[in-house]
């Protein structure tokens, strides 16, 4: 657990450092600021400073104090279960621009049912077709909320 805790704290410190660098104007006088006002950069600078200091102390404590022995994941199967979800999810979101929401959803639901669920083809097909259809009826027809369309098939609702 120790390296992960320290690594996470270090990442937060890095973000804080970048934000402080971006807000370095906190120490430069800005023309036109109202009397008494601290300007636009002061607040993000000190917020980032607090974040960095808190994360640094947290990381230091993780480095020096006893930490739980167990690993970050319970087993290999739990890592696989997370990756099985993350990879298709990222691919699904990336495919919106080319496939549009409905085709991407049909593929995502169908492939999930086939690959992870190992369902028979008709259940896979039902999952892939009925989900986007239900969403289309509820969101686009019912609530008039438009979802992303494909750039390749202009004019059709998918």
């Amino acid at each position: 657990m120790r390296p992960y805790q320290v690594g996470t704290a270090a990442a937060i410190v890095l973000i804080a450092a970048a934000a402080m660098f971006d807000s370095r104007a906190a120490f430069a006088p800005v023309e036109g600021t109202a009397k008494g006002d601290v300007g636009a950069s002061w607040y993000p600078f000190w917020t980032a400073a607090v974040m960095g200091i808190a994360a640094a102390i947290s990381g230091f404590r993780a480095l020096t104090l006893p930490q739980p022995k167990e690993g970050i994941f319970e087993s290999r199967s739990s890592v696989a279960a997370v990756l099985n979800l993350v990879i298709p999810m990222v691919a699904y979101a990336l495919s919106f621009t080319w496939l549009g929401f409905y085709l991407a959803t049909a593929l995502y639901m169908g492939l999930f049912a086939a690959y992870l669920g190992r369902y028979r083809w008709y259940w896979t097909l039902a999952s892939g077709v009925l989900t986007p259809l239900a969403i289309y009826l509820m969101f686009e027809v019912g609530f008039k909320l438009l979802l992303p369309k494909s750039v390749f098939y202009p004019g059709i609702p998918f």
Binding site: T8, Y43, P44, R61, L65, V86, A93, F112
Partner: protein
């Protein structure tokens, strides 16, 4: 009393057919969300925020912003009850606030063979807890709001500081990690245009010639949306955590059908424990009013209190009914109470009420004391709907447990991608923005990791929604005082609140020192971490 007249008017609003219909939809959806382990009340409310916008702007005949808040609040009430079913029948917490039911709820259902009693006693105590909290809400909310109307920038800033201090100092997790998350939330809220000077802030790689990056920078100038971040942290983050548990594998299951006998038995149990349920409800209300704590922390507090003051301590963990009724009453009372600071002060009491508060901003309402004077129908309609909503939820739970439990039979390979799909719809449709979808996925992964590293997410979410207001009040105070820091202490109330905030912030660091001085071992290694 004036409040009873106002409440009667609120019932008139809440019982309008359109509001009643959306309340029913809300509590039913909330129950489903509560039963599903991968989807929580917070993300459920966030996902439906775009639909609430359609409702609030009156696109549906007869509906308005009151209908929208009734829908969202209904989801919360349903989710508060729904998690119970999964915990008691499947030994899996459907919601974070029902984790505590695994200790006695599941053993009562399995070892003692009384799933009906476990469920009905839980629903009954939830209902009583929520009812008591709603009565307190009714009696005190207007009083608090009337006083808050006279708050100036120093008092408002002090309220925010006190809220943040309770998140850091009274949270269950490491205060340093909570502080880092709080600051991260404030920092994310600062991205984009400064609302006072109009300067661009925290825009990465400014001055680049890359077209894609410039497009991203232009989008970022409007700020990072609260809804996509919350759906990511609580929706995608939870589903990833749930996927990991599915990977581990084992799931218990008990069947239950509730009968009149179970209800009578639950009433008898309540009669024996009336003092515990009422006192825990009042404590839950007081605890829930504190920003950021909501139902989850309250449920553990309620369990601790029930055990502490029980004559049968040794029965706890083996199916003791007090171990179900105590935490349930506290959790539901805290859930209701978390709306009190949102409505009266414009400060969310829990991550779920933070999402609702974001909804109010989107619908064009300003959360805070002015709601009571400018949108009285809205506030009293909401308060009345809490009574009606909890009654509806209670009745549905008694009638439909087998049906709700059947949701758990929907296979993982269908329900999991479906939750991802609706999370992405919720994130996209508020602004029709693919950048928001990217934020949802990014913050989903970040939230999952932070959860594993035991970084609390509630301070991040509350700070993100309050960040702009905090900075505005800070700078207005400085401008009003001409840069004099003493102006923060210009009123007695502001001074007391800031002093209280300092004490609360120091608590986690002082407690271990006191324990050491008394020769005791600090309770946890990270007590001051």
């Amino acid at each position: 009393m004036e409040v009873f007249g106002l409440l009667a008017g609120g019932f008139g609003t809440a019982l309008q057919p359109i509001n009643l219909a959306f309340l029913l939809v809300g509590v039913t959806l909330g129950l489903v969300i509560g039963v599903l382990p991968g989807l929580g009340g917070t993300s459920g409310v966030a996902i439906l925020l775009p639909i609430s916008v359609v409702i609030a702007r009156g696109d549906i005949a007869g509906a308005n912003s009151t209908t929208a808040i009734i829908l969202l609040a209904g989801i919360y009430w349903g989710a508060l009850f729904g998690g119970v079913i999964t915990s008691i029948l499947f030994n899996i917490p459907g919601e974070p606030w029902s984790v505590v039911l695994l200790f006695d709820g599941f053993p009562l259902a399995k070892r003692k063979g009384k799933p009906g009693l476990a469920l009905t006693s839980s629903f009954l105590s939830s209902f009583v807890g929520a009812f008591i909290a709603t009565v307190l809400f009714t009696l005190f909310a207007k009083e608090i709001a009337d006083r808050a109307l006279f708050f100036g920038p120093p008092e408002l800033f002090a309220v925010f500081v006190l809220s943040f201090a309770t998140l850091v100092g009274l949270g269950a997790e490491s205060p340093l990690k909570a502080l880092a998350m709080l600051a991260l939330g404030l920092l994310l809220a600062a991205v984009g245009f400064d609302t006072i000077t109009g300067q661009a802030r925290l825009i990465p790689l400014s001055g680049t010639d890359n077209e894609t990056l410039r497009g991203l920078q232009i989008n970022l100038l409007a700020g990072i949306g609260f809804v996509p971040v919350t759906i990511g942290l609580f929706g995608i983050g939870e589903i990833l955590a749930s996927a990991e548990e599915q990977g581990i594998g084992y799931m218990e299951k008990i069947s239950a059908k509730l009968g009149f006998k179970d209800l009578l038995e639950a009433f008898a149990a309540l009669r024996q424990r009336w003092f515990l349920v009422i006192s825990n409800s009042v404590i839950g209300f007081l605890f829930g009013v504190l920003p950021g704590h909501g139902a989850t922390a309250a449920s553990f507090l309620g369990y601790g209190l029930a055990r502490q003051y029980s004559k049968n301590k040794e029965d706890f963990g083996k199916g003791e009914i007090s171990g179900i009724m105590g935490p349930q009453a506290t959790a539901d009372a805290a859930g209701v109470a978390s709306l009190v600071p949102m409505v009266t002060l414009g400060v969310p009491g829990s991550p779920t009420s933070a999402v609702m508060m974001a909804g109010l901003f989107v619908w064009g309402l300003q959360p805070g004391p002015l709601l009571f004077t400018e949108h009285s129908d809205f506030v009293w309609g909401l308060i009345a709907s809490i009574y009606v909503g909890h009654f509806l939820t209670f009745v549905i739970c008694l009638l439909a447990v087998p049906l709700l439990a059947a949701i758990m039979r929907v296979p993982y390979a269908i329900i999991t991608p479906f939750i991802v799909v609706i999370s992405i719809i919720g994130s996209y449709s508020l602004n029709n923005s693919m950048l928001d979808v990217s934020f949802t996925i990014l913050f989903g992964l970040v939230g999952y990791w932070l959860r594993k590293m035991k970084y609390p997410l509630a301070p991040l979410v509350v700070a993100l929604v309050l960040g702009d207001s905090t900075e505005r009040e800070l700078r207005k105070t400085l401008i009003a005082g001409g840069g004099n820091i003493g102006f923060f202490f210009s009123s007695g109330l502001a001074t007391v609140m800031i002093a209280l905030a300092v004490v609360i912030l120091l608590l986690p660091f002082v407690r271990p020192a006191i324990a050491r001085a008394r020769g005791q071992r600090p309770a946890a290694a990270h007590a001051a971490d």
